[in-house]
Every structure is written in structure tokens, then in C-alpha cells.
């Protein structure tokens, strides 16, 4: 069982790093439930 399976996940992506949507796609394939996802910009 993967470490993210059946876990609830909140995602804070960075537009100059990894965007929220990309992280979301990864954690979903690992069986996690995304409860919040956003991408922020610090510049």
C-alpha cells in the first residue's frame, strides 16, 4: 500500500515550481483524495 493511499491531501503548488494541478494528478494516481488544491504566485 502506498503512503498516500486513502489519505486526504491539501496541495499548495507554486507557479515557479510545481503547479497544484500537476501535484494533484500525481497524488490521485497514488490513491489519495485531494480535498484542496491551489497554485500560488510569490512574485
Amino acid at each position: 500500500m502506498g503512503i498516500l493511499e486513502n489519505k486526504k491531501i491539501a496541495i499548495l503548488g507554486d507557479r515557479d515550481g510545481i503547479p497544484g494541478m500537476a501535484i494533484e494528478a500525481c497524488v490521485k494516481t497514488a490513491g489519495a483524495e485531494v480535498v484542496f488544491s491551489t497554485t500560488e504566485c510569490f512574485v
Binding site: R15, D16, I18, M21, C41, F42, V43
Partner: protein, 512 residues
């Protein structure tokens, strides 16, 4: 095909510590939500003097007195190692102080919204009029004598009419009024940001005329590409900053419009300007943008936490002249434009493929054929303490990694490639301001000196911040050395028709 050229640039900074304290959105919301916060108490001890700002290496790189790569030779932190003999005057522009900028706000105000204390107004009007650049190129300096006020009246405008204060060294010297009693698009907040953007943009435009061979009445078209919106409640961002800025500098023969795409807008605007010139619609197009008061001190809490100065204390602005091919200035390759398409995807690799690799491959080139890339040139001394990392460096690593994937570089070359194609970030976090185009001034010099042949300018935009789409944005274009070929030698339809007719006539004659 003859390409348009990059004829000149101007880059300006305005040191605005009091605007940072009172109008920077982070500080403003802190004052509203936690007026006794430790952060607010710590701010005064972390503000920089004008001299500190002028001596700061990245600022000297922005106005052209040093190359961004020279920052590699300055000991870090750069804010503790100011440059000796630093100047407010640079090859590409200049640095303005806050008092002077308040005078500029007054001079660009067409609706008597900027109210200044009479004695301050008189003093600053003289200074603005005597300025060799503003005094020469701004045609609205008569505004500096309009509606002088008193501190008492200014206080009552702030307390009773929701005006936004203008402080200088903590002393109240003026305010900016709302432009309508209940229109949410014309509040004092909005008018403050819009007038700041307009005044700083007009400053950069004046510097473009002062530092280059371009006169105000030669400009045909202006494209403004900031991240602000002006309009009223029925057309909230109707525009048009471009014409309002051109009016200040007496660009009487120009029209213009605004282009928006968050931080990607300058690169979009450069492509648009190039297309307009190449198509022969206009001969001289200026792409420009003023700065953002909202973003001042936006990472300030982290800077104070690390006990470093609040270095997001400057408004940035730029103006860039795109003109017809003169056989000398660097050309803008309108046939090599990279775009992040709606279907490109949001993963970093997909973004880089779309805006860097695809356009080069389409033109039969590779990443190796580009000498220098300029993507997001944010100053790492601002972003690293805030946890956002060294953004230019991250972009260079991604570009180099893409090159390794495509086997144009060996894996062992990664660090060397990053150094060769890149430079340290040197631009304040003013959103659209650091986005690729700040390198263009240096690029012209490097290309004309033969130091480099080709550069790629990349703009990236966070469209999802507008909450209309989750999409990202990105666009790139290439600037390279001019081969001196200025004539359009492509063949038009009429010529082809004539050639076919002549051949057929010759063939017919041969049958006789």
C-alpha cells in the same frame, strides 16, 4: 522576409518606502487585520534609504550600469555590499526618489484626484520641472500648480472621504481621492494603483526618448502591458493606459491599447509590436509598463523574519522601441515564437517544451543555438528568503535539463550550461516587470558587440490567479544579430503571375 528590430530600451526604478508601508497590499491587510502585529512594528527598522537603493547591485544592473552577470562578482548578500560610485543615472534609465514621484503623480492626474499640501507642492513642482528628463518630455506639468491644499484638508479627505494618504518620511504631504462616491471600480484604492502605474510608465517612456533616437511624435502605437485595470463599474478594465501615458509625453501621432496576460503580457506585447511593424501597419511601436504599488513588500514578512531589509521597495517600469529594420539593430525573429497552447498542459516539462523547445525545433534549431535565455529575472535575494527559491536559476536548470533530454547536452554539462545560458536575477518582484524583457537592454549591447548572436526572451503568466481558468501562460521570442539584409526579397502574387505569363508567352513564341 525582413524582420522588425529592437531599436532601444529604457528601464526605471522609483524608491517608494512610504508607499510600501501604507499601500503595499500585504502591509495594508496587516494594518486592517492585525494592527498591533510584530511585523508592522518591525517595518521602520527594515526600510532602506535612497542611497542604499541606488547602491544596490541588482538595481544598478536594471538601469544598465553593470551587467547582471557582474552580480556574480559581488559578495552576498548584495544588500550588505553596495556598489561604490553607484549612480541614479544609468545607461538605460534612472532611479527616482519618492518625493519626486509624488510630484509626478500630480503631473499625470487629469481629474484633480491627487491633492498635495501647498508648500510641498510648490517645492516639488520646481524639482519636477527642472528634471532634465521629466521636465523636457512631459507636457502636462501645468497640473503641478492645480488645487494646492493644506494638511488639515488632506486629513479630512482621508477621514471623511476615504482618500488614500501620501506620506513622505512618515509625514503626511498629500492624498489620492476616490474618483466616484460609490463606484467600486473608481475607489481611492484603485485610483492609487492606477495613477502609480501611469506615472511610473510615463517616467520610463520619457527615459526612452531621452536615451534613444526616438522622438515623441515619431511614435505610431503604444502597447501597455502592466497588470492593472482601469475603467468604471460598467466596464471595469476598459482601458486605456497606453494612450493615457502617451498623452503625458506628447506622443500626439500615436494611438495604442493595453495587453493583459499577467506576467506574460510584456512578451505577448513584444510579439504583437513586432507583427505590427513587420506587417507595415506601424513604423514605430513602443511596448511599456509602469509598476505595481500593491506588490511592494509582498514578501516582507519573510524578509523581516530573516532580519534582512525590505528590498521590495521599488516600483519598476520599462519602455521598449520596436521599429523597422535598419540593417543594424538586433532583429526580432517573428518566425520563431513559442507559445504555451491551451492544450499544452501545466506540468513544468510540458511548459518548457511548448515555449522553448517547440519553436526552436520548428525553425531547425536547438537549445544549443541560443546563447542566453531570459525568463523570469526575479532577484533571488527577494524570493529565496520567502521560500520561493531562485527562480531564474530554476528556469535555467529546466532549460538545460530539456537540452539533456534531447541529447544536445551531456548530463555532466548541466551546471556549465546553466552558467553559460543564464545570469543572476536582478529585477524587483513587480510581476510583469521581471518577465524576460529586462534583459533586452543588455541584449542589444551584447549582440551589437558580438558577445552573443541570439537570445530567447520568455514570459510566463499565472492566469489561474484571475479565477477564470486553471490555465498557465507562456510565450517566447527570439532576438538575434542583424545580418544587414533590410529589403524584403519575397515574391508577391503579382510578380509570380507576371513570371508565368512571360514564360507562357515565350513558350507560345517557340511554337511559331
Amino acid at each position: 522576409m525582413t524582420f522588425p528590430v529592437l531599436k532601444g530600451t529604457a528601464y526605471t526604478l522609483v524608491h517608494t518606502p512610504d508607499i510600501l508601508v501604507h499601500e503595499g497590499k500585504l502591509q495594508e491587510s496587516e494594518m486592517r487585520n492585525s494592527p498591533d502585529s510584530d511585523y508592522l512594528k518591525a517595518i521602520p527598522d527594515h526600510l532602506r534609504s535612497f542611497e542604499d537603493v541606488v547602491g544596490y547591485g541588482p538595481n544598478q544592473a536594471y538601469i544598465g550600469n553593470i551587467h547582471p552577470r557582474d552580480l556574480n562578482n559581488i559578495e552576498k548578500p548584495w544588500y550588505e555590499h553596495p556598489l561604490e560610485n553607484a549612480s541614479t543615472e544609468g545607461k538605460f534609465g534612472s532611479i527616482m526618489s519618492e518625493d519626486m514621484f509624488y510630484g509626478c503623480l500630480k503631473a499625470v492626474d487629469m481629474f484633480e484626484l491627487v491633492v498635495l499640501d501647498a508648500s510641498f507642492q510648490e517645492k516639488i513642482a520646481k524639482k519636477v520641472k527642472e528634471d532634465p528628463v521629466i521636465g523636457k518630455y512631459w507636457v502636462t506639468l501645468d497640473k503641478l500648480t492645480e488645487n494646492p491644499s493644506s494638511v488639515d484638508e488632506i486629513k479630512s479627505l482621508i477621514e471623511e472621504k476615504d482618500a488614500k494618504p501620501l506620506y513622505l518620511d512618515n509625514e503626511l504631504v498629500g492624498c489620492i481621492k476616490r474618483a466616484h462616491e460609490f463606484d467600486a471600480a473608481l475607489t481611492s484604492d484603485v485610483m492609487f494603483e492606477n495613477l502609480v502605474s501611469k506615472a511610473s510608465g510615463a517616467y520610463a517612456l520619457a527615459e526612452l526618448f531621452a536615451k534613444n533616437d526616438l522622438e515623441p511624435d515619431d511614435v505610431d502605437y503604444l502597447i501597455e502591458c502592466s497588470e492593472e485595470g482601469c475603467g468604471d463599474m460598467f466596464q471595469r478594465a476598459g482601458g486605456n493606459y497606453a494612450k493615457s501615458i502617451g498623452e503625458i509625453c506628447g506622443c500626439v501621432n500615436a494611438t495604442g491599447s493595453d495587453t493583459r496576460s499577467f506576467c506574460a503580457a510584456p512578451a505577448h506585447s513584444m510579439v504583437e509590436a513586432s507583427a505590427l511593424v513587420q506587417a507595415g501597419v506601424y513604423s514605430n511601436v513602443v511596448v511599456l509598463a509602469g509598476g505595481s504599488s500593491a506588490k511592494l513588500g509582498m514578501n516582507g514578512k519573510d524578509h523581516v523574519k530573516k532580519d534582512q531589509p525590505l528590498i521590495e521597495d521599488c516600483l519598476g517600469a520599462f519602455a521598449i522601441h520596436v521599429g523597422e529594420n535598419d540593417g543594424k539593430s538586433p532583429v526580432i525573429r517573428t518566425d520563431i515564437v513559442g507559445k504555451h497552447k491551451i492544450g499544452s498542459g501545466a506540468a513544468p516539462q510540458a511548459i518548457m517544451q511548448a515555449i522553448v523547445a517547440d519553436p526552436l525545433e520548428h525553425a531547425g534549431l536547438s537549445i544549443k543555438d541560443v546563447d542566453v535565455f531570459s525568463a523570469e529575472m526575479q532577484n533571488p535575494e527577494i524570493t529565496v528568503p520567502a521560500g520561493a527559491g531562485d527562480i531564474p536559476s530554476a528556469n535555467y536548470k529546466m532549460i538545460a535539463a530539456l537540452g539533456i533530454m534531447k541529447k544536445v547536452f551531456a548530463r555532466s554539462e548541466l551546471n556549465e550550461v546553466v552558467e553559460r545560458i543564464g545570469m543572476p536575477g536582478f529585477v524587483p518582484t513587480q510581476g510583469h516587470i521581471p518577465s524576460g524583457v529586462p534583459f533586452l537592454g543588455h541584449a542589444i549591447e551584447m549582440i551589437e558587440n558580438g558577445d552573443i548572436h541570439r537570445t530567447m526572451i520568455i514570459g510566463k503568466g499565472s492566469l489561474f490567479l484571475g479565477r477564470l481558468t486553471n490555465l498557465f501562460d507562456g510565450i517566447s521570442f527570439i532576438v538575434e544579430a542583424n545580418d544587414g539584409h533590410v529589403e524584403d526579397d519575397s515574391v508577391d502574387k503579382d510578380t509570380i503571375r507576371q513570371m508565368i505569363a512571360e514564360s507562357m508567352k515565350q513558350f507560345a513564341d517557340s511554337l511559331k
